[in-house]
Structure formats: structure tokens, C-alpha cells
Amino acid sequence: MHEFLAQLVNGISLGGIYALIALGYTMVYGIIGLINFAHGDVYTLGSFFALTILTALGVSGELHGVALVVDVAIALIGAALLCGIVGVLIERLAYRRLRNAPRLAPLITAIGISFILENVMQIWKGPAPVSFPAVVPNPSVMVAGVAIGAQQFLLVGLAVVMMVALQLFIHNTRLGRAMRATAEDRDAAQLMGININRTIMLTFLIGSALAGVAGFVSGVYYQSTWFFNGFGAGLKAFTAAVLGGIGNIAGAMLGGFLIGIIESFATWKFGGQWSNVTVFAILILVLVFRPSGLLGEAVFERA
């Protein structure tokens, strides 16, 4: 029982990271029907940006008090903003001109962008894993004999807050309505006077910023980052988005947590080498038996 709970807590924490990444996949898919395979690498880029900002601030260990709040906020917002800008640039350079091309074309440029980002990051911080400072102190509370750290609360809390904020934004603002309208029918939305390019740009900005947030929290949580992390994490977050119902915000969140828990339990019960197998077996099962995912396409609807 104790080990079950420990694995559950670990799975939820891991799932928080997948959920944050999955939000970006699902938003972009919802609005332009593209699986943005460069998204996982934007997540890694987020941890690189955060690391660079923290280094520039002279942070190399745990922070306390005001410094903790200020420096973490600067690193978090900075990483999110920079990733958002990268996301917008990627859309502008690699996807916009291909918006009306066959669907395979932007998919291939997405994979190309992914390779470019990976190699740029490899040149930037080197081919080996890089150490990330443990900026957030990690005191833990015991719940039913399982230690839950402050970082785990932060991680899951951030993921949930981001999802709720995103839901509110999409359903309660003019820009959110423009996003929904664009997702529903791009041509009709354009006829109604919605600036399609700006709306899609906004989607990439928000989705990539969320990946930046995920990059920052994963850096804090694992105290390391690596140029190639985004490949594996991106694929699993994509699986999470499909499991929850791609195009669906709440589904991405649910899928993210489920994939985290499943991965954790698979490692526990079947052994480490079977964790990926289990996750991707689920991807196949979902695609075959329930292609619309657990929650279907409730928010963004596309033919």
C-alpha cells in the first residue's frame, strides 16, 4: 500500500509535466489540425532559457524569502515568454506558408524544426546532461507515510492553475472566442472579421509559453536538463493529448496525469524497460478503439 501511494504521488508529479506539454499539442492541433512535433523541443528549450536566466541572476542553489519569489518569477516568466516567441517564430517560418498545403507538408517541416532545435541546443549546452540549480527548497509533508515534496505541490499546482486559466481565457474573452471560432471554421471566422493570422499566432504563443513553464518546473524537479529530453517527453505528452482527446483542453490535462501514473506503475510492476512500451501500447489502443480520446473534442471542433 505504501509503495502504491509513493508511486501514485510520483506518477501525478510526472503527469503534471506531461499535462503542461500536452496543452500546447492540443491547442495547436485544435486550431490548425497540425501535430506540432517541435513542441517537445520547445519544452527543453524552456528549461535551457530558465537555466540561462538563473545563471545570469547568479543563482546556483536553493533560494529563500523574497529572492525565491522574485528570481523564480523572473525565470518562470522569462522562460515562458522566450518560448512563446520561439513558438510564434516557428509558426511564422515553418507552418504559415504551408497552411493550405497537404497536411503531410507541415508535419514534415515540424519534424525538421524539431531536429534543428535539438541540434541548436546540443551546440548551446553540449551533448551531456546539464545540471540545473535546485532553486525551490523541497521540504516535504508526510501523507499516509509517503513524503510529498514542496516541488511536487508546485509542479501539480502550476499545471492545474494553468489549465484553469486557459479554460477561462478561451471561454470568457474576445480573443478566446476568436480562437474557438477559428478552430470551428477558419473561413467563416475570417469572413466575420477575425484576424486569423493573429489568432493562430496567439495560440502558438500560449502553447509554447506553457511548454516553457513545463521546462522550468522539470528543471527544478529533476535538477538537470538535456538537449534531447524533449524527444521522449514530447512523444509521451502527445500520447497524453490523444488519450484525453486531442483538441480538448481538459482532456490534455487528464491524459497527462493518466500517462504519468501509468508510466510510474508500469516501471514499478513490469520493470523500467517496459514503461515506454506500456505508454505507447496505450496510444495504439486509443487510436484503434477510441480515436476521439476519453473526453472527445468538446472545446475545439474540427472535421
Binding site: A128, A147, S224
Partner: protein
């Protein structure tokens, strides 16, 4: 020095274009004649050569050149023991192409050594994949080849190695003065038991190197009275090892053994051991963990790793060599300088003995091979003799630990085989 290397590299390129054009069958014919050629009396001023094949440019150059210098020093010093009328020369060729060691380039270097009748033995290569390509060629030619640093198990032992020796199965022409990957597993098992560790949890990265290492550790640790609690393999492209480590925590090991390298999970596992509460448990692995400090910093403390070579800086037998090397090249020895010195010493010694038994005539390459196989020689890295596979019979490995994130030398381990 640079200029000579550059010229050598150019010569190698020129030679390779020729060698590549020659058909395989033609090569085999010429080399067979070389093996069976009757010894002829040496004219005065006879030059015999030891070929050196190493990566001497690009990313591998820093280790390649210090290795080459070790071999050249030995050849230099062997000069005074050469029989009257003989001059011993070292001829180095670069097996790097565009900055990376390259098996095809290695093969063409070896072919150019084979076509030079004065070359009686080869020292090199540095890398196991290059050795894998070269061994069939030197074996077919019956030319002795001595590796200073190639540690992959299957170059000498097992069905893969037999396949490499297929042209001349009865004649083993490849020898190495270093030990093998999997013997690190034995050394680590011995060390773990000597520290009083009884219970281990073994994790590997599911790659060739990591699996071999972990297999050997598992076998020896158990044979030595230790308990293996469980064995787990990692999935690729994962950054979360916490669920695995929660399992490890529940099993309560004295030491966590990792078969693999820092970048396939070795570094992250050590870091995440601290977040699940395993920070005080010891951590061990092979030379793949040598750079653990760069990832785990001070959290690397409490970890141990081996290198499949003695630490020549600390070996009493190597003191004179370390000093001479320093005086000659105005630099400290590289990681495999002493090994290359020993390899060239073995080659030179075998050539000298072969000349002796051919009564001063240029010996056949086969006679040099036989003399290498029969080697009993004191070298800076200890006494060297070979088993029937060409592996050293008294492997010495060195053991390191971490203090403040920096590796420090603990001691040499002499394996009981």
C-alpha cells in the same frame, strides 16, 4: 611534430586510394606470400618498422597523440637492443576522417603497413570499432597487432572474435595490453564486497556495454557471497527514474550498481537517488560513470567507478617511464600513453627475439606473431603475458571515487582470474 603527422596523414590518404583499388583477392595473395616467405639474410642498415595506427586528428587527437608518443618512446628506447645492422622505426598513420576515428581508414592504413615488407608488427588502433574492421585484415596477413586501449570483450573472446579470425583461424594475431569492459564488472564486485556491501540492486541501460558490465557484476557479486536483490533495465529517452528508484528504496540495498554511461541515465539516477531518499546509499559503475561529476556535482560523492587500465601515474613500475615521457614531450602522460608504451615494447621485444632465432635474417611475420604470443615482459603497467585469446593474464584496473564532485584515485585492483 605536427608537420610529420600531416605528411603521414597525406601519405596514408595516398596509400589508401591505392589500397582501395586493389581487389581483396589480390591483397590476400600478396599477404600470403609475406607469411610464407623464406627469411633472407639482412643486408647492413636493414630497417624494420612497427606500424602505429591511431586517431591523430580531430576530436580524438588529444588522447591519440599522447598514445602515439608512448609507443614512439618505446620504439626509441628499444633501438639500443636491436641486433647489429638493424634499425627500428615507428611509422604512424592517422585513422581519423573528418575528425572522427574511422574503421575504413583504419583498414586502409593497415593495408599500407601490410604492403610494406619492413613492417613486422602494428600497434593500435585506439577504438574498438576500428579494431573490429582491422583484425580480419591483419589476421589474413599474419601480421601481429597489439591494441593499447581497445576494451570491447568480443574482439578476443566468443563467436564474434572467432568470426574476425576466420581467414587464419589457427593463428591469433590480435593482442591487447589493456583489459576488457566486462572485467570492470569483476573488479567492481570484488571492491563492493571488500567494502562490506552485501545487498545490491542492479540497473542497466539495455545497451551492449551496460548489459555486459552488469551481467559480469551480477555473476561475480553473487559468487562472492553477495545478494542481488533485483535487476532492472532502463527505457530509452526517459528523464524520470524516480518510480524505479522508489522500487530500489523499498528493496533496501547497500549499493546501487549501474551498467551504462552517464548520458544514458547514469547521471540522472544518481541525482534522483537523493530526491527519493537514497542519497546515503553507495553508487557504482564502470568507466561510463567517469564523468558523473559534471552532471551530479557534489551529489556524485559516495559513487565509485573503474577504469580498465592501471593508473600509470601511481604505479611504482611506471615511475621511470612517466619521468622520461615528461622530459621528452614536456607534457604529462595521457590516459593510454603507458599502455601504448607497453604495447610497442611487446612488439619490439618480439621482433628482437624473432631476429635472434632467425640468426640475424629478417624474420617472417609469423615468427613475430609467435614471439608476441610467448611474451613475458616487465612493462610500466606490470608484467605482461597473453592467454590464447590474446588477452593479458594479469589484468590491472584502477578504482576511483568522488569527493566534492571530483574523481580521486583509490587503488589498483589486480583481478584474480
Amino acid at each position: 611534430m605536427r608537420l610529420i603527422l600531416a605528411t603521414a596523414a597525406l601519405a596514408a590518404l595516398a596509400a589508401c586510394s591505392g589500397a582501395n583499388n586493389a581487389s581483396t583477392s589480390k591483397n590476400t595473395t600478396t599477404t600470403t606470400t609475406a607469411v610464407t616467405a623464406a627469411p633472407s639474410p639482412a643486408p647492413p642498415g636493414q630497417v624494420v618498422k612497427i606500424g602505429i595506427d591511431l586517431p591523430l586528428s580531430g576530436g580524438d587527437a588529444s588522447v591519440g597523440i599522447s598514445t602515439e608518443q608512448g609507443a614512439l618512446l618505446a620504439i626509441d628506447q628499444a633501438q639500443k637492443n636491436m641486433p647489429h645492422g638493424y634499425t627500428l622505426q615507428g611509422e604512424a598513420l592517422d585513422d581519423s576522417v573528418q575528425g572522427v576515428h574511422n574503421p575504413e581508414q583504419g583498414v586502409s592504413n593497415v593495408r599500407s603497413f601490410i604492403s610494406d615488407a619492413a613492417v613486422l608488427a602494428v600497434v593500435g588502433p585506439y577504438n574498438s570499432n576500428v579494431a573490429r574492421a582491422e583484425i580480419p585484415v591483419t589476421n589474413a596477413a599474419g601480421l601481429a597487432q597489439i591494441g593499447p586501449s581497445v576494451v570491447a570483450d568480443n574482439l578476443t573472446i566468443g563467436p564474434d572474435a572467432a568470426q574476425l579470425r576466420r581467414t587464419n583461424p589457427s593463428m591469433n594475431t590480435f593482442f591487447r595490453v589493456c583489459t576488457t569492459d566486462s572485467r570492470q564488472g569483476s573488479a567492481l564486485a570484488q571492491f563492493a564486497r571488500s567494502l562490506g556491501f552485501k545487498r545490491t540492486y542492479i540497473i542497466d541501460d539495455n545497451e551492449t556495454y551496460g548489459l555486459d558490465l552488469a551481467d559480469r557484476f551480477e555473476k561475480d557479486f553473487t559468487a562472492d557471497g553477495g545478494t542481488v536483490l533485483a535487476r532492472d533495465h532502463l527505457a530509452k529517452n526517459t528523464q524520470d527514474f524516480k518510480s524505479l528508484l522508489l522500487k530500489v528504496l523499498a528493496a533496501k540495498p547497500d549499493v546501487v550498481f549501474f551498467g551504462g554511461v552517464t548520458s544514458t541515465g547514469g547521471g540522472l539516477i544518481r541525482k534522483q537517488m537523493f530526491s527519493v531518499g537514497l542519497g546515503k546509499t553507495a553508487y557504482m559503475g564502470g568507466d561510463g560513470l567517469a564523468d558523473l561529476g559534471t552532471v551530479a556535482a557534489a551529489q556524485a560523492d559516495g559513487s565509485y567507478y573503474t577504469l580498465a587500465a592501471p593508473n600509470a601515474q601511481k604505479l611504482p613500475a611506471a615511475r621511470a617511464f612517466v619521468k622520461t615521457y615528461r622530459a621528452k614531450y614536456n607534457a604529462d602522460i595521457g590516459p593510454y600513453s603507458a599502455n601504448a608504451y607497453a604495447a610497442a615494447q611487446v612488439a619490439a621485444n618480439a621482433i628482437i627475439r624473432a631476429i635472434g632465432s632467425s640468426k640475424g635474417a629478417i624474420p617472417a611475420r609469423a615468427a613475430v606473431v609467435a614471439n608476441v604470443a610467448a611474451t613475458k615482459l616487465e612493462t610500466p603497467i606490470g608484467p605482461i603475458s597473453f592467454d590464447k585469446y590474446g588477452d593479458v593474464t594479469n589484468p590491472v584496473l584502477s578504482l576511483y571515487g568522488f569527493k566534492n564532485g571530483q574523481p580521486y584515485f583509490i587503488r589498483q585492483i589486480q583481478l584474480k582470474l
